[in-house]
Symmetry: C2
Subunit: 307 residues, 2 copies
């Protein structure tokens, strides 16, 4: 296990601790605002306006995951539909992200499917794309099944995410090629055991590059979702070398991370989307952001001390 | 430029220094024997016997490169033919490697071509494969041209090497797919400028993995030539996952490097070939081996001091 891997395990384990959670929730708000647009949809829409001025588009994500009751799932779904409608009133590209466990995937796949159908019908009317984020490895099969089911039901305004740290992912990509599925490629941010995920960061990086190239070569519209400067550089070089135009891929980065790089890429003519989370349920998202970058922990520590 | 890159530049520049060269040639012999089978063909054949006892096959390489006269080229060619004939008398798999600049590529491509034709004719009679090593980037085009020309002349007992540090290499591989060319994939060991080669080791690794997978997926018989334990592990995992049998690839390592790993792979049923250099012209080969692994420099230093 290399440093990055043990660091991630450590932070994600720490995040489960109730006292830590309480401390972060009461005192970490200020810092959380670095990554999170605000508590409300209205605050999030202000962030969208600001990003659009820099030619960066937004992926709006109402924070929430792993619900344990149907009522919670339905509540989140109503909020997401409100989000889609609000975006529909604005002239910018419309794009939201959600998690299937936010819509009750763990309770029932049929429940999540029916809630997704309604969201996608509404989204289609507003020309809005809906990305289903990928969660931890036990939920990958269910998420991919959901995507196929939605496609069979006639929805093509949705897509999935592939995580390069999972050993299975190249085969998952292979299976998506005949569907011409739009994909987002990420490295992955959950704690996963060595049986299912590469523990050597170099192999995660290598598979990230391979998946992006393979997806684009096979004509899938590809969201390259990494902040890694060398990888972004390589994708720019490779697409140019292979004659793959900027209409066939885009860069996705997180709100609050490498803002200057985001502006620069947009100014160079690439499509750039920033993932903009909002809402009050920010703790798990926040923990994964800390877990994936040691530097972030220092900011948190300082912020907690200063209150 | 990362550490590995600057270290390599430093060592390869140092190796040009005449006093260093003199010192190494007079006092470094003992150390050089770690990587080099001996001065003579007979010594090399003894190494082959020893390797075969561990089920490791040999790639015999008569050291020599960058000749500046036709006479030298012809001399090397006679020696290589003698090598092929000697192998022909033995029951082991027959496999040699050579460099085109050893056969006068820099003097005339036609000269090198005619010398190669004779070598391949002889090799064909003895069921011997002849790998053309890849040299530095200015010679890549000529080497690939030579391969095509030899194939057009009816020789299929030869193949080329692709270096993952070169940015062009994925396209070179693409062009070799229709020819079903047997390839060896390496990272690359020359000093190359950022215009042509990745300077970030992670991208070299990523492209190495990608090239191996792409070659095998497309049915090219692939020699995976790396000592990197994580990469070897990943290739074993991936080929099993993809149902690519051990008849479609092999591992190649250098004589004297990770001997236990070589035995282990062979015992597991993989084809393993060790690259066995011999001859008196060992200085450039030796310099590249030092340049690619900082640990090796310490051995040399100790060996020079102890005489």
């Amino acid at each position: 296990m290399d440093f990055n891997q043990s660091y991630r395990s450590f932070v994600l384990a720490l995040a489960q601790n109730q006292r830590i959670k309480h401390l972060v929730l009461t005192r970490g708000r200020k810092f959380a605002r670095r990554f999170i647009a605000g508590d409300t949809l209205e605050e999030a829409l202000q962030v969208v306006e600001a990003l659009e001025r820099d030619r960066i588009h937004a992926i709006l994500d109402l924070l929430g995951e792993m619900v344990t009751s149907e009522a919670q799932a339905r509540q989140f779904q109503r909020e997401i539909i409100r989000l889609v409608q609000a975006l529909g009133e604005r002239p910018y590209p419309r794009y939201v992200a959600l998690k299937l466990t936010q819509l009750g995937l763990d309770i029932s796949e049929d429940l999540a499917f029916s809630l997704m159908e309604e969201i996608l019908s509404e989204a289609r009317q507003h020309d809005c794309f809906v990305r289903m984020d990928m969660e931890d490895s036990p939920r990958v099969d269910a998420t991919l099944r959901m995507y196929r089911r939605l496609r069979e039901a006639g929805f093509d305004n949705t897509g999935v995410v592939l995580q390069s740290y999972l050993k299975r992912t190249e085969q998952d990509l292979q299976a998506l090629i005949p569907l011409k599925a739009p994909v987002r490629i990420v490295k992955g941010a959950y704690k996963e055991p060595p049986e299912v995920a590469f523990q050597d960061k170099r192999l995660v990086d290598a598979q990230f590059v391979l998946l992006c190239k393979k997806a684009m070569e096979n004509g899938l519209y590809t969201a390259i979702a990494s902040h890694d400067p060398q990888i972004i550089q390589e994708m720019k070089r490779w697409t140019a070398q292979m004659g793959i135009g900027p209409d066939r891929f885009e860069f996705q980065l997180l709100y609050g991370v490498r803002r200057d790089e985001q502006k620069k890429l947009a100014a160079e003519g690439y499509t750039v989307r920033a993932y903009v989370p909002y809402g009050t349920d920010w703790y798990p998202y926040f923990s994964r952001r800390i877990a994936e970058r040691p530097e972030n922990l220092l900011f948190v520590a300082r912020s907690l001390i200063q209150g």
